[in-house]
Amino acid sequence: MTAKDLSKDEFFYGHKACAGCGGSLAVRNALKVIGKNAFAVLPAGCMSAVGFNFPQLCFANNAIISTFAGTASMLTGIEAGLRAKGATDFTAVGFAGDGGTADIGIQALSGAIDRNDNILYICYDNEAYMNTGIQKSGLTPFGAKTTTTPSGKNIHGNIRPKKNMFEIVSAHDIAYSATASIGYMEDFLNKVKKACEIRGTKYIHVIAPCPTGWGIPVSNTVEIAREIVDCGLWYLAEYENGEFTLNHDPKEFTGVVEYLKKQSRFRHLTDDDIQIIIQSRDAKWEKIRRDWRR
């Protein structure tokens, strides 16, 4: 899918997200792929905070705020309710942030995958609880400075690595799951389109940088979302029929140091910290290249 194939309609318009917001770009374009029959569920998080400010209601399709933990369970209910009413042509889609997915909503998501409900769950991952002022989530990467993992003389930001949410979800033997980045938009659009055509539970994990929380200029959102893939700290992959497939295999990685030093959340890192990040990247890619289809 390219820009030409997208619906001209805008389904997420006039919202109050910060300038240069990556999450709002993911939501906007996913809804353009799904179309007007999307029934969107948004838990507490940036996208519900910026989309529903009564009477400024920015979704043009059906959309509802769920409990923080209940994105997937509300999707289950909406899908079952619409089916009971005889509707056939619709997509129940959830947009939850990284905290709402990997920490607070993981139980409901796991349950929905277990039941194989026909829903699409999109996690826009900005790597911390940005809406409440940048607190660490389970998807905050090693070394990142947040308000709950500050950097000081002894501890340099977050001491734990990012949860591997894509593989946690895939380990349920889900119908379809994928990773994406808003920097590679065509890839993301294709995955949303593919997910809409599959029956069962679908999960897409899209990296969506947050200029405020990452400490980058607002015009750099898309560039940094490309760079995280190019330097190997994120990967574009799919899981289907019990198999992992790598979609994009960079011949040579771009510099991790350059990527990190562009962001104020990483600026305090020492050379030793950066070596830990590079080593964990290399170990991850060794496994990916050995075990996944390419």
């Binding site: 820009a3 030409k4 997420f12 318009y13 006039g14 009477p55 209601l57 920015c58 399709n61 898309v222």
Partner: protein
């Protein structure tokens, strides 16, 4: 089709539905006041490649007659469009 701007009115209790639902796509305020710089399209350079339209977080760019057109009511001036344009057809100008 997209959500459009309507006249702002004061909602009384009688206007609010009994349940927590309301009409979708109901806009009463613009975002133009957020900008300190604004993108301006050079119509001679623009070939309508749609990249700015694809990457605008606010959906404020549409392509009409193969040229990028910006809705300044909802552009927040982030400048992603300027960086994404391979032809340098968009320039950021100071708001006055």
């Amino acid at each position: 089709m997209k959500p459009y701007l309507r006249e702002k009115k004061n909602f009384g209790f009688s206007d609010i539905p009994g349940s927590t639902s309301f009409e979708a796509g109901y806009l009463v305020s613009v975002n133009s006041g957020w900008r300190s710089i604004k993108p301006v399209v050079n119509m001679e350079k623009c070939i309508g490649c749609m990249q700015c339209y694809l990457y605008c977080p606010d959906g404020a760019i549409s392509i009409e007659n193969k040229k990028a057109v910006i809705d300044y009511d909802f552009c927040k001036g982030c400048g992603i469009c300027q960086k994404i344009c391979k032809l340098n057809a968009i320039e950021m100008e100071a708001e006055r």
